[in-house]
């Protein structure tokens, strides 16, 4: 019964936090999905890999949160350093993906109007998994709330169950991202997505470095 209550609470928290979650993951997910292949099936595969890795990130965090007792006990400085490291890694993966998308396109795009990324399927899924894991470790506000609540549960299993349910609640909000599969992939869409990816990577990189150096983003 208690497990059911915990599950229900986490699911509700996940559902309520969905907009914040898609807001946090959107900058990573939208351009990377747009550089992938068009079509519902391809996007489902990518999104599944992304979400599976995100779940892994959540469960890892559940272990850490439970072990630490309370997430609140995590001092601001290490938290800032962790965020900084995650941001820098996220930026590096995004930049690599941006350049990889260019290489993937080089052959098929040369003559054709349509971009056909038919090779390196596994490389795309690996990048999706890496990005999913890193965004899973992103300390967005609902995630911190879930971490604190999970840390208050009685056992590690309960903490993991809490995060799994939270994950399910938030994942429902990701379904609309599949509609990006309907957008025709041509040279313009691919170039825009790659450029956007690089810009977002630069933002994460600069913020990550600032955090690692101990600078607050808006310390007026």
């Amino acid at each position: 019964m208690a497990a059911l209550v915990v599950f229900g609470e986490a699911l509700a928290l996940g559902l309520a936090s969905g907009p914040a979650c898609i807001a946090a993951c959107g900058p990573v997910l939208v351009p990377t999905l747009l550089t992938g292949r068009a079509g519902f099936r391809a996007n489902t595969g990518y999104l599944s890999a992304f979400l599976a890795a995100r779940l892994l990130g959540y469960l890892l965090f559940a272990v850490v949160a439970w072990e630490l007792g309370l997430l609140a006990s995590l001092l601001p400085t290490p938290r800032l350093l962790m965020m900084g490291a995650v941001y820098v890694l996220l930026a590096v993966v995004l930049l690599c993906y941006s350049f990889a998308a260019h290489r993937m396109c080089a052959q098929p795009c040369a003559e054709s109007k349509l971009v056909q990324i038919t090779d390196n399927k596994t490389r795309g899924l690996a990048a999706a998994a890496a990005l999913g894991l890193l965004t899973g470790l992103n300390l967005c506000p609902p995630f911190v709330v879930a971490g604190i609540r999970a840390a208050q549960t009685g056992s590690l299993a309960a903490a993991m169950l809490f995060f799994a349910a939270f994950f399910i609640g938030t994942s429902i909000w990701f379904i609309p991202f599949l509609s990006l599969g309907c957008i025709v992939r041509n040279q313009a869409v691919l170039t825009v997505a790659r450029m956007a990816m690089a810009l977002i990577a630069l933002y994460y990189l600069s913020m990550g470095i600032a955090m690692l150096l101990g600078k607050k983003a808006y310390g007026y």
């Binding site: 907009p19 914040a20 898609i22 807001a23 946090a24 959107g26 900058p27 939208v30 351009p31 313009a188 170039t191 825009v192 997505a193 790659r194 450029m195 956007a196 690089a198 810009l199 977002i200 933002y203 600069s206 600032a210 600078k215 607050k216 983003a217 808006y218 310390g219 007026y220």
Partner: protein, 384 residues
């Protein structure tokens, strides 16, 4: 390959008669006086009155020249550059009077007193739709609603014409681009045309993630000539350095070297957003394929890189066309025409031009004219 204009038959129409041009200008004269001088609530202060009269006559004179010479771009550019120069003069002066600095302190932002320009409009849509939150430190009644209303009205009529008749930033680079006689850099990679869309996509997504207008916080070059976040930290200082560098590069150096509006063509996310509205505006610029050579003089003349070889072959401009009229004016065969959607291409292009110019200029007087009048009033106030 561009062809020398001298090898093509020149078929420029003769100037209109003065009386007929005056007659066509009369509605704009009345409208300008109504907007600038006799508007209810207009300041009764003599300097404001004088600046209003000067602006009304200025706008009317430019419209008269458009009518008389059949040339749109040259006279519009005078208005647009004046707008670009006078906006910062009036705005910065106002900031110094109000708070003694161009830097907006965080306390003002928290109080919701940040001046709102049109740039963040596309950044506000997703957060507002998903969370019913306005991610801008301003107030709806204190400027946001008015600016959005003006933008919507102008956009529905002009589409991306906003960028040629209303934007109070673009005039600076258009003025800089007009200075050199020839472009130093001529070969421009067409892929950069996609960058505004990428900036738009990245900034919309980041604004949603960060719950702040990311473009205004990090990338707007025009913060250098308007208000910016007061630099009270290293990050704040970095933001301001970015603003100044982008302004120096995209608004001063590159327009001077390329004779193009590089910030608009290669960077501005609002311009990319505005391009979408070209789909719903009834006015457009078309190329009559029967008359087109193609010499590609239009492509060279376009300040926004909105024409390509392929688009000319298709008989149309790219989606990013700002309707400035440069290509129409430069075409020696008059193959490029103003066009109303739903009509045949060759159907009375001058009538289409007049219909567009009346609506665009009326709105330009109402919006840009007010800003010009404020700038003139500031100069008069300081020097007289």
């Amino acid at each position: 390959m561009a062809t020398d204009v001298r090898t093509l038959p020149l078929a420029r129409p003769a100037p209109r008669g003065i009386l007929w041009s005056l007659f066509l200008t009369l509605p704009i004269l009345i409208w300008s006086l109504l907007m600038m001088v006799f508007r209810p609530g207009a300041s009764a202060e003599p300097l404001s009155r004088i600046s209003g009269v000067i602006t009304a006559l200025f706008m009317t004179a430019l419209f008269f020249m458009m009518m008389r010479t059949h040339n749109t771009y040259r006279w519009r550019r005078i208005f647009f550059v004046s707008l670009g120069i006078l906006f910062p003069i009036g705005f910065i002066h106002n900031l110094y009077v109000m708070r003694g600095s161009m830097g907006i302190p965080i306390e003002e932002m928290i109080a919701g007193r940040t001046p709102f320009c049109f740039m963040p409009i596309p950044l506000l849509i997703l957060p507002a739709a998903l969370t019913r939150t306005l991610v801008f430190p301003g107030s709806i009644a204190g400027g946001i609603a008015a600016m959005v209303g003006i933008w919507l009205a102008l956009t529905l009529v002009m589409g991306k014409g906003w960028c040629s008749y209303a934007c109070f930033f673009g005039g600076i680079e258009e003025g800089v681009a007009a200075i050199p006689a020839r472009a130093r850099i001529r070969k421009l990679d067409s892929r950069w045309r996609y960058l505004p869309w990428a900036v738009l996509l990245a900034m919309v997504l980041l604004s949603l993630a960060l719950f702040e207008p990311a473009y205004c916080m990090w990338l707007c070059p025009f913060k250098a000539v308007s208000e910016y976040v007061a630099a009270r930290s290293t990050i704040g200082l970095i933001q301001n350095v970015i603003f100044v560098l982008l302004f120096a590069g995209l608004v001063i150096a590159l327009p001077f070297l390329t004779k193009k509006r590089t910030q608009c063509a290669w960077f501005c996310p609002f311009g990319a957003f505005q391009s979408i509205f070209n789909k719903i505006s009834i006015f457009e610029v078309k190329i009559d394929k029967d008359h087109c050579k193609p010499c590609l003089l239009c492509q060279n003349a376009c300040p926004n890189l909105s024409l390509s070889k392929e688009s000319v072959a298709r008989g149309e401009t790219l989606l990013s066309c700002m309707k400035c009229g440069a290509c129409v004016d430069v075409c020696p065969r008059q193959a490029i025409v103003w066009h109303i959607k739903g009509t045949q291409i060759a159907w009375k292009p001058e009538r289409a031009r007049l219909m567009f110019l009346y609506s665009a200029w009326a709105l330009a007087v109402m919006f840009g004219g007010t800003i010009i009048a404020q700038g003139i009033a500031t100069i008069l106030h300081v020097f007289v």
